[in-house]
Assembly symmetry: C2
Homo-oligomer: 152 residues x 2
DNA sequence: CTTGAACCTGTAGGTACTACAGAGCGTAGG
DNA sequence: CCTACGCTCTGTAGTACCTACAGGTTCAAG
């Protein structure tokens, strides 16, 4: 029998890549529920909480603000929303997710081209991104998320 | 003949969706070069600067930290890097871009399923994201960007 | 030439972490 | 059982990245 490792804050931090202190912060602001504690008061997480934290962390890395993440989590948690509200919010999130995918694919394409050009002898002092991300249609309809991810 | 609109800070702000003050901030920290000024000292941008700001803004929305954006811009600006450095950095960026795309696609799929379930009568108080983003292979190799986008 | 919107600078405030100090818990080794 | 050392606890201060405001100047429409 493999013994299950105690999911303490430090372990969870390593497993998720989330900074140790940030875990406590997310609990403070109510993104993570307060976990059960040991006799002596140490936090003890479980798989559900681990997945939740993973979800939060990845959303942050994808440029969603804490409030947006909260919104997504509330959808999942089954909050006090009506059918219509849930659907509207989900559709809105879906739109912004798709917009991000589009932008990332453009960036991917550009970087890929840069790499292939770098095979040659010279740094192709490329004005590539100049051609990129011109100011297109979406200018006035952009979603403007607020989100930092400070790193360790 | 269509008259070209003067690209003042306010106009640029509206065109890019970037907060008025943030434009000045990016100039302060050297992400945007100081633009030419009018007689009276007002900033006057051009298409290049507009594209650059657009690029920065979108990168931020995609969860890249300011330092990562700076890195990307330096590649483009043709900095003082050697061939090898340029390539290594580009490949690294490419990897993180692809990782983001993967995550976003998972999220897209989940949200899509939620929407389709919302057609019915009930809010399907879905534990969907529970199954999502489990703690997979990448746990220890994650890139941990720092990035906020505060909103308007 | 007036007048109000847009811009200027400097500075203070806000969000989202991140690090530190000083004390307590927990467990492996003796 | 006891010690020792690492991990965790709390509160608080500091950092990164904006965002808003105050008090004054410029610009352009009328």
């Amino acid at each position: 029998m493999s013994k299950a490792p105690r999911l303490t804050r430090g372990v969870v931090s390593k497993l998720t890549g989330c900074n140790l202190e940030t875990i406590r912060y997310y609990e403070q602001i109510g993104l993570m529920p307060p976990p059960p504690r040991s006799e002596g008061g140490h936090r003890l997480y479980d798989d559900n909480l681990l997945r939740r934290l993973n979800f939060i962390r990845r959303c942050r890395e994808l440029g969603f603000s804490l409030e947006e993440v909260r919104g997504l989590l509330t959808l999942v948690d089954g909050g006090t929303y009506t059918r219509g509200e849930v659907k509207d919010r989900t559709v809105a999130h879906l739109r912004s997710v798709r917009s991000k995918i589009v932008d990332l694919k453009v960036l991917e394409k550009t970087l890929k081209e840069m790499v292939s050009k770098c095979v040659g002898d010279e740094v192709p002092d490329c004005p590539v991104i100049d051609a990129l991300f011109r100011n297109d249609d979406r200018a006035l309809s952009r979603s403007r998320p607020r989100s930092p991810i400070q790193g360790s």
